[in-house]
């Protein structure tokens, strides 16, 4: 058993190079050595460029800021400037940024061009694009400042990580992390539902027989504990840890962190599931009567109540990327809802039997579903809603949850299985579980704790807090969700969050649609304008030959000249289309029969 390696250990050491790397480190004022292998001393810190693309050329120093070939701008190849003292800047040019990191921050789709934009508009758009590109490069460069590294769990050769017990992990990790694993034995009031607050600091739990409690689970300080003397279906924190909603047998109740009942909402009755949309301040409730109701908790009004027309609703999940609610139905479909529409945005047929559980990952790309047919499926939510992978589980999963880094947890009977993917943005591969854990009762609630490598499981025997290394996002943003925020900071955040509450009408499948050009309306407006004016002000005027002197302005010659211009235009058009065709053919040809890429290709540019 080894301790954790240093951050940056992900870069594999190059064995062949080792003797060259051992050279005496140069100081920045020293002349550039002739041997190119002696890299600058800064390389020892974190490397930003992926290893294989790094250039090592034999003739003199190369600037470090070169991007991958095919970069949009010509990379600025600045020669190291000579100063008066003769010293050279060993790191000329701007600091390098990783290309894939910059892509993560990029917000513009360059493939889409505005049809027939005017020159002024086009230049404005180009300026905006350039700004955007610079912003994304800078944001990518700021990744260097992130302090924490994600956790991981690796088995030794041939060792299956799924066989590793929680007790082993607890023994191996530091004390502070070991304290995050605990069991609450609450056999009397179970089975339990649980919910973490958005900062990941607080935990609310509701037992089916009326036990409701909220606690700061890190310090294990109890905030309140009450018994509502009624069945508790679900429990959910609202925007901060000061308020939580409890779906009780009859109605929906809202309590504060001291357990005082603030509201009883009788418009939401027989609620089975709760979801809170934090940026819209909407509490979505699914009820036995088949209604999906959105309650605006900032003003206390019901925004819409949608009838799903599918009987009892007991499976619900929200898509954190676009705030669309996913409902699972007994006929095997999952329907997607927004409060702006009376009909579902989409319906996906997922299973042969009914749907038992739905979960959507934090990027809004993947949806995991499990059904009565004992299948566990992962769907791609971008575009066509196609299944990516599926797996049959012996019992079928009753509960599903995604972690911030894309781990998928499933509660199967009294066992929790966790699957991991390759990286952050890849779907979990369902072949081999990453971790498994057997509990003392049947799973009833499942949630990954935000910003902590912890999975909270509510079951019939109480609550279990499991350690799942690599589950959570290591670096939080202090202005969004700060687990260490003070009271004052929370109050300030609350005011700001309320000020920028997103209206419920803006919920749709693509949250970026608001920043795009509304082409339909634009064309409609143009049509109306042409109708109003009686002519098209943007149309190109037809060619009118100028009158010429000395008797060359006869009607015949005018017509001839007109004809000439028309023919010329026609010829241009034909030529353009021909060229396009040829290019397409060339590209198609070049693809299969291209020469095999050689490692030396990168020196050719």
């Amino acid at each position: 058993m080894e301790t954790a390696p240093k951050p940056g250990g992900s870069v594999p050491p190059k064995k062949g190079r080792l003797p060259a790397m051992r050279k005496k480190p140069r100081r920045y004022w020293e002349e550039e050595a002739t041997s190119p292998a002696a890299g600058p001393p800064r390389k020892k810190t974190r490397t930003l460029e992926p290893g294989p693309t790094r250039r090592k050329s034999a003739n003199g120093p190369k600037p470090r800021n070169q991007r991958k070939p095919g970069g949009r701008k010509a990379a600025q190849r600045r020669k190291p400037e000579q100063t008066l003292s003769g010293a050279q800047d060993p790191f000329p040019g701007p600091a390098p940024a990783r290309v894939d990191a910059a892509r993560k921050f990029c917000r513009i789709d360059r493939s889409e061009k505005l049809p027939r934009a005017k020159r002024k508009t086009r230049s404005k758009l180009e300026a905006a694009e350039a700004q955007e590109e610079e912003a994304s490069a800078r944001a990518a460069r700021s990744e260097l400042l992130l302090a924490e590294e994600p956790g991981f769990l690796e088995g030794e050769d041939g060792e299956d990580t799924a066989k590793i017990l929680q007790t082993d992990i607890v023994e191996a990790v530091d004390i502070a992390s070991a304290a995050k694993h605990f069991d609450l034995n609450l056999r009397q009031f179970g089975p339990y539902r649980l919910n973490y607050s958005r900062t990941g600091r607080h935990l609310a739990l509701g037992g089916h027989r009326g036990h409701v409690a909220a606690l700061d689970w890190v310090t294990k300080k109890l905030m309140c504990e009450i018994n509502v003397m009624e069945a508790v279906r679900d429990i959910q924190f609202l925007h901060s840890e000061a308020l939580f909603a409890v779906a009780q047998n009859r109605w929906l109740y809202i309590y504060d962190n001291q357990g005082i009942e603030l509201h009883c909402i009788r418009r939401c009755d027989r609620v089975t599931q709760l979801e809170f949309l934090p940026f819209h301040f909407l509490l979505a409730t699914a009820s036995e009567t088949g209604f999906l109701t959105y309650l605006d908790v900032s003003v206390g009004k019901i925004v819409t109540a949608l009838n799903a027309r599918a009987g009892r609703l007991s499976v619900m999940a929200q898509n954190p990327y676009n705030a669309v609610i996913h409902l699972g139905h007994s006929n095997g479909t999952v329907s997607l809802w927004s409060p702006a529409m009376k009909e579902p945005l989409a319906k996906i047929l997922c299973h042969r039997g009914g749907v038992r559980a739905v979960a959507v990952d934090s990027t809004g790309t993947y949806m995991a579903t499990s059904g009565l047919d004992h299948q566990l499926k992962i769907f791609d939510l971008r575009g066509t809603f196609q299944p990516l992978s599926a797996r049959t589980l012996p019992q079928g999963a009753g509960h599903l949850a995604f972690s911030q880094r894309g781990l998928l947890a499933a509660g199967v009977g009294d066992v929790v299985n966790i699957w991991a993917g390759q990286g952050k943005a890849s779907p979990p591969s369902l072949e081999q579980p990453y971790l498994t854990h057997r509990l003392s009762g049947h799973v009833h609630g499942l949630q990954f704790c935000p910003f902590e490598d912890v999975l909270g499981v509510g079951h019939s025997g109480g609550i279990t807090s499991m350690l799942v290394p690599g589950a959570a996002e290591p670096n939080f943003d202090g202005l969004e969700n700060n687990p260490y925020r003070s009271r004052k900071q929370r109050q300030e955040w609350e005011v700001k969050a309320l000020l920028e509450k997103v209206p419920a009408e803006l919920i749709c499948l693509d949250p970026r649609a608001l920043a795009q050009v509304d082409v339909v309306t634009l064309e409609q407006q143009k049509k109306e304008r042409i109708e109003r004016l009686g002519y098209d002000p943007d149309a190109k005027a037809a060619f009118q030959p100028k009158p010429k002197q000395k008797g060359r302005s006869s009607t015949a010659s005018l017509v001839k000249r007109k004809k000439k211009v028309m023919d010329q235009e026609h010829r241009d058009k034909v030529r353009q289309s021909l060229e396009q065709k040829q290019q397409q053919q060339k590209q198609e040809k070049a693809k299969p029969t291209g020469v095999r890429p050689s490692a030396l290709d990168r020196f050719m540019h």
Binding site: M1, A4, P5, F105, R107, A139, S142, E143, L145, L146, A147, E148, E149, P150, G151, F152, L153, E154, G155, E156, E159, I169, V173, D174, A176, S177, K180, F279, P320, Y321, A323, T363, Q404, F451, D453, P469, A472, E473, N475, F476, D477, G478, N481, N482, Y484, R485, K488, L499, E500, K501, V502, L506, P511, R512, A513, L514, A515, L533, G534, Y535
Partner: protein, 445 residues
């Protein structure tokens, strides 16, 4: 097995003492900041609303004149000093920071028609209805001295306007003709005229300092070169131009305030069509002045309002009016580009902010950055209908509002008539004339 758990040291995330500021670690990963566009949109909407809430442009009213204010002049060296001439021949010098009159001169009999300061700021010139040009010292007379002009030039005809050269000791007056004067002489160095009519204003170009522009009541704008004996060229418009003003950043651009409710921005090199027609006023435009940045100008109108236009936009971005302000005769944009002064018929000079919702005084860096951020957001979402509606809305006095409606109906009727005429005549015989070309009658060289 190898295992690493995420384990943060709280000392890295909370402040050490209460005297420190709170630590705020940032991570710009887009998945941690969902709903980027909707949230920015809401912020932009809020910023637009707040801008309208804080739009309180009126700063002060300087009263003291005993007749309508006819002309204004800026001091070239001191931001706080401003000069004004009234219809009863009185000239007042004001201190804007104290909002007080610091000196009063009975300069002329009858109107003070024009006032301008010398480029060094030590003296100023006035012309009046009494056919005189007078030069005055900027500083008041000493104890026991009498208020006397430095020089007085008696002319043959009434002078209607005056402007001083930006670098040389020369000035130009207008009346029956444009006269160029040397400060040392009592007769003009040269006189230029083109046709016989009364010229209402003359302006030196601030960059190409030998160029002048004038406008006369026979509907034309004439350009002169001081070094030549004859005028350069002129453009004839539909109606009379009251004043012109040169763009202080682009030498060849000037804007003319016209009697037909419009302002025309011309490029001196191509006078056959204006670069832009600015139409928002509902009565004759009496005065115009550029911001020192050359990006915007302010216009004063007979409809009791002043408007601020961007140079490249045909619609105004702002309109200022008060209940008590009557026909605005003169307007000036101060040299720090922050304030606007206007003199009106009811004897007051009013001071306005050029940017209605701007906070005056020193801003903290946080205020500044918040301001910049909001500005950018407003710019980004300016075309969204909800944002646009709020940003565009202005309260107008009933008279102006109803005038706008009426003129819109008239314009629509004219357009419809033309459309019908085009429909029922031979194709091409009723050409489509653009709004820019409609108002120019001729260009003469």
């Amino acid at each position: 097995m190898k295992v690493k758990m995420l384990s943060r040291n709280p000392d890295n995330y909370v402040r050490e003492t209460k005297l420190d500021i709170q630590r705020v670690p940032r991570n710009y990963d887009p998945t941690l900041h969902p709903f980027e566009v909707p949230r920015e949109y809401v912020r932009a909407l809020n910023a637009t609303k707040l801008e309208r809430v804080f739009a309180k442009p009126f700063l002060a009213s300087l009263d003291g004149h005993r007749d309508g204010v006819n002309c204004l002049a800026k001091h070239p060296k001191s931001l706080a000093t401003v000069l004004s001439g009234a219809c009863d021949g009185e000239v007042k010098i004001w201190n804007l920071t104290e909002r007080k009159c610091i000196r009063t001169i009975q300069a002329h009999e009858g109107f003070v028609r024009g006032i301008c300061t010398r480029f060094c700021g030590t003296s100023f010139f006035t012309v009046g209805d009494d056919k005189t040009v007078k030069q005055w010292k900027m500083n008041g007379p000493g104890y026991g001295e009498e208020e006397e002009p430095l020089h007085t030039i008696l002319g043959k005809t009434v002078y209607t306007g005056i402007d001083h050269h930006w670098k040389d000791p020369a000035f130009a007056t207008c009346g029956q003709q444009v006269d160029i004067w040397d400060e040392q002489r009592t007769s003009p160095v040269s006189s230029m005229n083109w046709g016989f009519d009364s010229i209402s204003s003359v302006k030196f170009n601030p960059i190409e300092t030998f160029l002048l522009g004038s406008c006369a009541s026979d509907r034309n704008i004439v350009l002169y070169d001081m070094r030549q004996a004859t005028p350069l060229k002129k453009v004839i418009l539909d109606m009379r131009t009251n004043t012109i003003c040169w763009n202080p950043m682009e030498a060849f651009i000037f804007t003319a305030a016209n009697e037909d409710y419009n302002l025309y921005t011309f490029d001196m090199r191509a006078l056959d069509a204006p670069v832009m027609v600015h139409m928002d006023h509902v009565s004759a435009v009496l005065d115009v002045d550029y911001s020192p940045t050359g990006k915007e100008f302010v216009s004063a109108s007979f409809d009791k309002s002043i408007r601020i236009f961007p140079v490249d936009k045909s619609q105004s971005r702002e309109v200022y009016h008060t209940k008590r302000m009557q026909h605005v005769i003169c307007v000036k944009w101060t040299s720090d580009s922050k304030y606007i002064m206007c003199g009106s018929d009811e004897m007051n000079i009013r001071l306005w902010k050029a940017n209605a919702s701007e906070k005056l005084g020193v801003l903290t860096s946080r205020e500044k950055s918040a301001n910049d951020y909001n500005q950018k957001l407003k710019e980004k979402f300016q075309h969204h209908p909800h944002v646009k509606r709020i940003a565009r809305h202005r309260h107008l006095p009933k008279s102006i509002y109803s005038q706008i409606q009426e003129q819109r109906i008239m314009k629509e009727a004219r357009r419809r008539k033309e459309m019908n005429r085009r429909k029922h005549s031979k194709p091409g015989s009723v050409p489509i004339v653009s709004e820019r070309k409609k108002h120019v009658v001729a260009v003469v060289k």
